[in-house]
């Protein structure tokens, strides 16, 4: 049953076997993609035709490798840019929200906090369409009434940033708020009684304490943005982000270049995870 209790051999073996099967289930799709990224074939699946780097570097009539495909590189870059802005705005507003809800008392705080948590239980598709509706009609209204052409309100880069920010800030608020709960309020009170202003206290004492959580939240929101599809698809303009680009390629023109892109993503995430694992272990 648990470490300290003896149990039958059959139970132990059966349980370990189940865990093994679970992990095989878990890594099977990832291993498959990574292997087939090097398949010398024009089809995404088997049979295996031998090793080739074509889907990374080729530039021939029937094979366009990942690094030679300007559309694909462009959508990677769009995703990086989007992720950066989403992470930045979410981190700023989410941290402010964490400070507001943890340290201030005001009327309707409960209601506001509920609204701030709402993106967790609003399906991403619904967030996407509601923001699309409002921004489009607001944009049309502004143009017809005042003659202002507010480009960021029509589907495109900035609308994607706005849409992803709307739930990104919630994650930051939760991550930073969790660390703020461990903060010793006496430090702030000491600074206040030494005549620091409230803003100075936040800048010089609270924020430095929160720094690890803020950096962590920035990375988390970047990754959430980088892989988001459900909200993004409704807000996208002419420049797709990587998930949207991958989606349309999977649906309409799948070549093994998809395996190559996926291989790069899998490797990047795995290495980052390993590095953070090793760094964290050193600290302990």
């Amino acid at each position: 049953m648990i470490r300290t209790l003896p149990c039958s051999r059959l139970y132990k073996v059966g349980y370990s076997l189940y865990i093994l099967l679970f992990y095989i289930f878990l890594i099977m799709p990832l291993v498959t993609i990574c292997v087939l990224a090097f398949n010398d074939s024009n089809f995404i699946a088997l049979p295996w035709n031998g090793f080739s780097l074509d889907w990374f570097f080729a530039d021939t009539d029937d094979r366009l490798g990942l690094f030679k495909d300007p559309d694909l590189m462009m959508s990677v870059w769009t995703s990086v840019e989007t992720g950066f802005f989403v992470a930045m705005f979410s981190t700023i507003v989410g941290t402010i929200a964490a400070l507001l809800f943890e340290e201030e008392r005001f009327r309707f705080k409960g209601l506001l906090y509920f609204l701030a948590l709402a993106p967790l239980v609003i399906p991403g598709v619904v967030l996407g369409i509601s923001i699309l509706l409002t921004s489009t009609y607001t944009g049309t209204y502004m143009e017809e009434t005042f003659g202002w052409d507010m480009e960021f309100l029509s589907p495109g880069f900035w609308l994607v940033v706005i849409g992803q920010f709307s739930f990104g800030a919630t994650y930051v608020m939760l991550l930073v708020g969790a660390r703020l709960k461990k903060f010793d309020k006496v430090l702030e009170e000491a600074a206040l009684s030494l005549r620091a202003t409230r803003l100075e206290v936040i800048r010089l004492i609270t924020l430095p304490f929160l720094r690890p959580a803020i950096i962590g939240a920035f990375v988390v929101t970047f990754l959430i943005s980088f892989s988001n599809f459900n909200t993004t698809i409704f807000l996208i303009g002419s420049d797709p982000t990587l998930p949207v680009d991958l989606y349309s390629r999977i649906k309409f023109s799948s070549t093994p270049v998809l395996n190559a892109v996926s291989f790069m993503i899998v490797m990047f995430i795995t290495f980052s995870a390993m590095i953070s694992f090793v760094l964290n272990r050193k600290k302990i």
């Binding site: 506001l112 609204l115 609003i122």
Partner: protein, 284 residues
């Protein structure tokens, strides 16, 4: 009431802007728009037609019901599949190995849904890895149609959501004192009794928050049903997607979006009431 410092408003205003402009207004807007209907003469009127369209066309409400039932089913399946893993990682395996095994669980989450679902597409396709494997070991003679049906859709939904359940369950299990289990075992309780009289009741908060996250991800998902599901495995998000991006009937799409929002909120509300949880707990 004491006078507010300027800092308070400096914190409040960005948060208010975020919540009002991106959460409250768009969803109210979506709600009102769902009652707008364009008559044959081109005039916009207030009507229930968008909702009538939903009830009149069988395919819509059948998909709606199917989405609801499947989401509950997949959530339950995710619990059954991952609970032994969460228990194993917190209570059975030696601590020094468990952190690495937990890290492996996080990798597919960060890689993102689109890549992993694509991996499953390759695995399950007619010319895919699993079919080739089964034929090579002589278990089957011809390709099994595993892709583009409810089976493949369920695998995809399970895979992309189940890992979100393990972490909350693990944190609940970690606080469960081993001596409780030891005591029950000393007093002659069977494994099964320990499981459903001690472990499950103690872990309920973790199961509830994990279950809600999984349910939300599944009911609002578009990628897995669309890429892995076939013609017969429709998902309600696909109907919304079609209304917005294929037929451009945004008012009806708004009504569908609102219905999805109501569906997910109702089921989550019931789940919270049944388990005596609060939404605030789910986030943390």
């Amino acid at each position: 009431m004491k006078k507010r410092s300027g800092t308070f408003y400096l914190l409040l205003v960005p948060v208010l802007l975020w919540l009002v402009m991106l959460i409250v207004v768009p969803h109210l807007d979506m709600f009102f728009r769902s009652f707008r209907f364009e008559t044959d003469e081109g005039a916009m009127i207030f009507s229930l037609n968008n909702y009538l369209a939903f009830f009149e066309d069988q395919i819509y409400w059948l998909t709606f019901v199917k989405t609801a039932l499947y989401s509950i089913g997949v959530t339950f399946l995710a619990f059954v599949v991952t609970f032994p893993v969460a228990f194993y990682l917190t209570k059975v395996i030696a601590k020094k190995y468990s952190s690495f095994m937990v890290l492996l669980l996080l990798i597919p989450i960060w890689i993102g849904e689109l890549v992993t679902i694509y991996g499953w597409m390759i695995l399950l396709s007619d010319n895919g890895v699993i079919n080739n494997f089964l034929i090579n070991i002589g278990l089957i003679d011809t390709y099994l149609p595993m892709l583009y049906n409810n089976f493949s859709m369920t695998i995809g939904l399970l895979y992309m959501s189940m890992l979100f359940m393990i972490v909350p369950m693990m944190s609940a299990l970690e606080s469960l004192d081993d001596s409780l289990i030891e005591a029950a075992s000393d007093l002659g309780a069977s494994k099964w009794t320990i499981f459903y009289r001690i472990v499950i009741p103690y872990t309920t908060p973790g199961i509830a928050s994990g279950g809600i996250i999984v349910f939300m991800l599944v009911i609002g998902d578009y990628v897995a049903p669309n890429i892995l599901g076939g013609k017969s495995s429709l998902w309600f998000t696909e109907q919304i997607y079609n209304k917005f991006l294929a037929t451009f009937n945004w008012n009806e799409g708004a009504a569908f979006g609102f219905l999805l929002l109501m569906l997910s909120s109702t089921i989550i509300w019931i789940a919270l009431k049944l388990t005596g949880q609060k939404l605030e707990k789910v986030g943390s």
